[in-house]
Amino acid sequence: MRNFAFLIVGILFGIILTKSEAISWFRIHEMFRFESFHMYGIIGTAVVLGALGLLLMKRSRVKTLDGNEVSYKGMQYNLTRHVLAGSIFGLGWALVGSCPGPMYILVGHGYWIVLVILLSAIVGTFVYGVFGQKLPH
């Protein structure tokens, strides 16, 4: 039942990212050229409100549906890894103008070429899983 509820959350996510225009290749290009505030406004608002809300959830010890308090399991710190991995991702993000969420949504929009991007991203994930352990972790 809860898994089905996530289908609804996904639908909301698809609609929100479409109407926010965050799925637009042009918006991403514009963002990296610093020629519009739009994307910075979206991410900034989401992070500020997100941080406040999560802080409130942690402080008020609100229980999740699993009955747990809100917590976050951070990853192990490794400067090289964070910056290097981020840069690899960023090269791809700026090129195809879509990160993983928008890839799914753009397919829903009927941009069939994005299926190639999505499949290639799955291949990239596979190659990391096979060879990636050799990189700094």
Partner: protein, 192 residues
């Protein structure tokens, strides 16, 4: 009244409304006991296709990932609904400076998107343009590889991780921008 509401939300949303709505998704998923993140679904698909039989990295309990499969399938459906019923009357209002710059690279806005929505430059990325096809494959690969190496993408780090005040996520997001700026300003103009 329903039509009025649909017309209302069919307009492009202000960035503050969009940001608040995305924060709402983070809260909803946190309350539902899950952490908002999309790229892990790629690992899930690899596992579903049997990659876990040969490679330990892909060994995961797929029952625990069912919610994420549902979420990304929902995202596709959300895209279908948005384009079918909530279409904006005009293409995305990209800044004049970007439009002019892209025009210089031969990417005419908004005509470069055959759907005239301003979402994706199909004049570059299409099945009959070998350059675009190669760029699509390369870009997708980098996104998938980088996201897994960094343990997350925009949703997991730039939104969720930063909201949890994670320095690891901040460094990863700085990486996103290093790569993104190099691609946009140095490499992309050479490719097209």
């Amino acid at each position: 009244m329903v039509q009025g509401f649909i017309d209302q939300i069919s307009q492009p949303w202000h960035w503050a409304v969009s940001g608040a709505a995305i924060a709402g998704i983070v809260f909803l998923m946190t309350w539902m006991g899950r952490s908002f993140g999309v790229s892990t679904s790629f690992k899930g698909w690899c596992s579903l296709l049997g990659a876990g039989r040969r490679f330990k990295f892909f060994q995961m309990d797929l029952k625990d990932e069912l919610w994420r499969f549902m979420f990304v399938i929902g995202a596709v459906i959300g895209g279908v609904i948005a384009v079918s019923f909530l279409r904006s009357p005009e293409p995305v209002d990209i800044s004049a400076a970007t439009v002019e710059y892209l025009g210089g690279l031969g990417i005419d806005y908004p005509a470069a998107d055959h759907k005239m929505l301003g979402f994706f430059p199909t004049s570059l990325f299409n099945f009959s343009n070998i350059t675009g096809l190669l760029l699509a494959v390369a870009g997708g690969f980098l996104v998938g590889f980088g996201a897994r190496y960094g343990q997350g993408c925009t949703s997991g780090h730039a939104i969720t991780g930063l909201s949890h005040l994670q320095v690891q996520s901040l460094l990863t997001v700085i990486g996103f921008f290093i790569g993104g700026l190099v691609m946009t300003h140095l490499l992309f103009p050479l490719f097209v």
